[in-house]
């Protein structure tokens, strides 16, 4: 942790190679903090609309229901945070092969989650314009899924980079940034999951 703070807020970078890497990490952190405000605006919208509107669930619509598939999906996504952390540790210890394996596992887990999301969408009895439940549900899960797609894309980029000879060092900081991004997306999912599924609608 202190290492992380050092990396992010440490001494002014100047023009050294290390300094520039630190800048990257600092920039990514600032970006994620800023990006989280988009989600905050979504969460607040959800809470406010949910509490104030009478037309949340049109008649005959149940809304998103907590099911075993969603729970498995969630477990897979959240544990991928652990896997990516292990991958990060591996690359810090210069264990390239282990890194690639763990890194790839993360992407596979992310993909599993994505497929699960789209399957769930298909099975639902409401659409985008079905009351406010449809609007909030599809936009917010969709926006989150978009972030997962970006995350997987970045992971692929880093994976390819890890095969470029001499590029190892650059991959290193990229890896930390992508992993930070992934933790962020996972954290957002915890809140979305609580809002969309745990906070059950009254009929």
């Amino acid at each position: 942790m202190t290492n992380f703070i050092d990396n992010v807020l440490g001494t002014p970078a100047r023009d050294t190679r290390e300094g520039k890497k630190g800048n990257l990490l600092f920039g990514v952190t600032v970006f994620l903090l800023s990006e989280s405000m988009v989600f905050v605006s979504f969460f607040l919208t959800y809470i406010i609309l949910r509490l104030s509107t009478k037309q949340w669930l049109p008649s005959g619509v149940l809304g998103p229901q907590l099911s075993i598939t969603i729970i498995i999906n969630t477990i897979v996504l959240l544990s991928s945070s652990l896997v990516i952390y292990l991958a990060e540790r591996a690359i810090k210890k210069y264990k390239l092969v282990r890194f690639r394996l763990l890194w790839l596992t993360t992407s596979v887990m992310g993909t599993y989650f994505l497929v699960g999301t789209f399957k769930e969408w298909q099975g639902l009895d409401f659409g985008l314009s079905t009351g406010l439940v449809g609007a909030t549900f599809y936009l917010f899960t969709g926006f989150h899924a978009l972030h997962i797609i970006v995350g997987i894309f970045l992971q692929m980029l880093m994976l390819v980079r890890s095969f470029v000879r001499g590029n190892y060092n650059r991959g290193h900081y990229g890896v930390i940034s992508v992993s930070l991004f992934w933790h962020f997306v996972d954290g957002i999912w915890i809140i979305l999951f609580s809002l969309l599924y745990l906070w059950q609608a009254k009929h």
Binding site: K20, S34, T45, Q55, S129, L132, L139
Partner: protein, 557 residues
């Protein structure tokens, strides 16, 4: 071929490329800064022409020059372009040019990101303006785009002006966030040795405070724009009152950004005043530390005042009172700044060169803008003049008369640094007086006519308001003409102006310690900072350099 002719050849090649690089994907922060300034100035001219059409319509009471929907489109795009494509990005361009020089860095932290952020500006801008060509016409819901008006689509075209408006707001927002990340990283991590926080020029402080606001508040607007886009184009009902949505929620999200945005705009302008005024009074900035800290204070308070734009939107009374007080609170750190500038000027020997004229003019007009703002912050008064020209008068006193004048001050002040040539002082002064007179003539009449009850956003009005409106329209045309000497001056001076010395104003900032224009990586060697900023009075910053006749003439010492 001798050695010297070889280098000459190289130099002439560099010269030839010099102007071309402004049209390329260049990653030098100085090139990008000028790209920003020129591009946004073009948008300023376009938005200015739109406003002259608006004022042309309002010169007579009936609606005769343009029809209703075109009038709506004109004021919508006028406001949007002025705010999102002139004021905000032009200050970003200025900061882009200056920040690395002022803190002693070679470039911004992320040069490529910087270039991408710039190129999104013309893309977003052209996208926005092209909506005039759509069969459905441009967006008409005003620069704030409140639903339910903004989610109606009477024309039935799947892509209409409002969709384009939302897309370009999202594009411009992404550009701003990229800029914010870049500025924050650069200022916090790339300062030269010895450049402590309390040795940073005020301009750096103000950009830092403004960019923190961008990063924290702008995403709320992006979120709102995404939801509005879904309402408009994909049948969702976030803000649609007829299907359970909440249009007031949009107003909250919009103003949560757009109120702080006024400080994103005005803080760097305050920064410019704080650079220019000490340089032309030869006094250290009075109360440097409190001015620096006040920048943060302003940012912080401005996050908690957005509801003052919604006093008339069915906001409960307790909330109105709360936000009335927080609004009044902003006056304190702002007052600190105005006091500091006044105290700096106090008993000094004034040098009234063009940048100083614009700075002083800006400060004076900000006092009117600020006072009318505090008046509007009072709930009872606001409910009376809400949606009248009083509000229009207030924010133009701030946005045009303060911020645009600060930008002119900045352009004249740093012109020698940017181009290596001096501008023409006489034409600069003509530009100032035309602007100063034109701006007051345009915007002052809006205050009394608003108090009398003339409603804004309409193309026809009661004949009793005609007198003030004719004055305002004449002023607007004068303001439009005032930009002509400005442009002529800059273009001609750029080409044949006299060679500028490295530090024509004997100013103290690090940017003056390098050549005019600065070399590619700004400094021969990265300087070490040992002095407090604004140490005017030290021999090296003295204008009474008896060996430099030019300087003596320039400063009348």
């Amino acid at each position: 071929m001798t050695h010297s002719s070889a280098t000459n050849l190289k130099e002439s090649q560099i010269k030839q490329q010099a102007w071309k690089r402004y049209f390329t994907f260049n990653t030098d922060h100085k090139v990008i800064g000028i790209q920003y300034l020129v591009t946004t100035f073009i948008f300023f001219l376009i938005a200015g022409i739109l406003s002259m059409i608006l004022r042309g319509e309002l010169i007579t009471p009936p609606s005769d020059l343009v029809d209703r929907s075109l009038y709506n489109g004109l004021f919508t795009l006028h406001g949007t372009v002025m705010i999102f494509l002139w004021i905000i990005p032009s200050l970003v361009g200025l900061a882009n040019y200056l920040i690395p020089l002022m803190i002693g860095a070679k470039d911004m932290a992320f040069p490529k990101l910087n270039a991408i952020a710039f190129w999104l500006i013309p893309i977003g801008g052209i996208l926005l303006l092209s909506s005039f060509l759509l069969p459905s016409g441009s967006a008409q819901a005003g620069w704030w785009s409140y639903p339910p008006v903004s989610i109606q689509n009477p024309t039935g075209y799947p892509i209409n002006g409002q969709t384009i408006w939302l897309l370009s707001i999202i594009v411009l927002g992404i550009s701003s966030i990229m800029g914010g990340v870049n500025f924050l990283t650069t200022i916090l991590r790339m300062r030269a040795p010895g450049m402590h926080f309390f040795r940073m020029p005020i301009f750096v402080w103000t950009v830092l405070s403004a960019q923190l606001l961008q990063l924290f508040c702008l995403p709320a607007l992006t979120g709102a724009a995404i939801m509005l886009l879904f309402d408009l184009s994909f049948g969702t009902n976030f803000f649609n009152p007829t299907s359970g949505g909440d249009p007031v929620l949009y107003q909250h999200l919009f103003w949560f950004y757009s109120h702080p945005a006024v400080y994103v705009m005005v803080l760097p302008a305050f920064g410019v005043f704080s650079e220019v005024i000490p340089a032309f009074t030869r006094n250290p900035l009075f109360g440097y530390k409190s001015v620096a800290v006040a920048s943060f204070g302003i940012s912080l308070v401005s996050i908690f005042v957005w509801v003052h734009h919604m006093f008339a939107s069915g906001t409960p009374s307790w909330m109105r009172i709360l936000f009335m007080f927080s609004t009044m609170l902003v006056a304190i750190p702002t007052g600190v700044k105005v006091f500091a500038w006044t105290a700096t000027v106090w008993r000094s020997k004034l040098h009234l060169d063009t940048p100083m004229l614009f700075a002083l003019g800006g400060v004076v007009m900000f006092i009117i803008g600020g006072i009318t703002g505090v008046m509007l912050g009072a709930v009872a008064f606001d409910l009376h003049v809400n949606n009248t020209y009083f509000v229009v008068g207030h924010f133009h006193y701030v946005v045009y008369n303060t911020i645009t004048m600060a930008l002119f001050a900045a352009i004249y002040f740093w012109f020698p640094k940017m181009t290596g040539r001096m501008y023409h002082e006489g034409w600069g002064k003509i530009h100032f007086w035309l602007t100063f007179i034109g701006a007051n003539l345009t915007f002052f009449p809006m205050l009394p006519v608003g108090l009398q009850g003339m409603v804004r956003r309409i193309s026809s009005y009661d004949p009793q308001y005609a007198g003030w409106n004719i004055l305002a329209s004449l002023g607007a045309f004068l303001l439009g003409m005032a930009t002509l000497p400005f442009m002529a001056n800059l273009v001609v001076s750029c080409l044949i102006g006299i060679q500028a010395p490295n530090n024509p104003w004997y100013a103290t900032g690090l940017e003056w310690a390098t050549t005019s224009p600065p070399p590619t990586e700004n400094f021969e060697t990265i300087p070490t900072v040992t002095l407090a900023p604004y140490s005017y009075g030290l021999p090296q910053y003295s204008t009474v350099d008896t060996t430099d006749e030019e300087a003596i003439k320039r400063h009348g010492n």
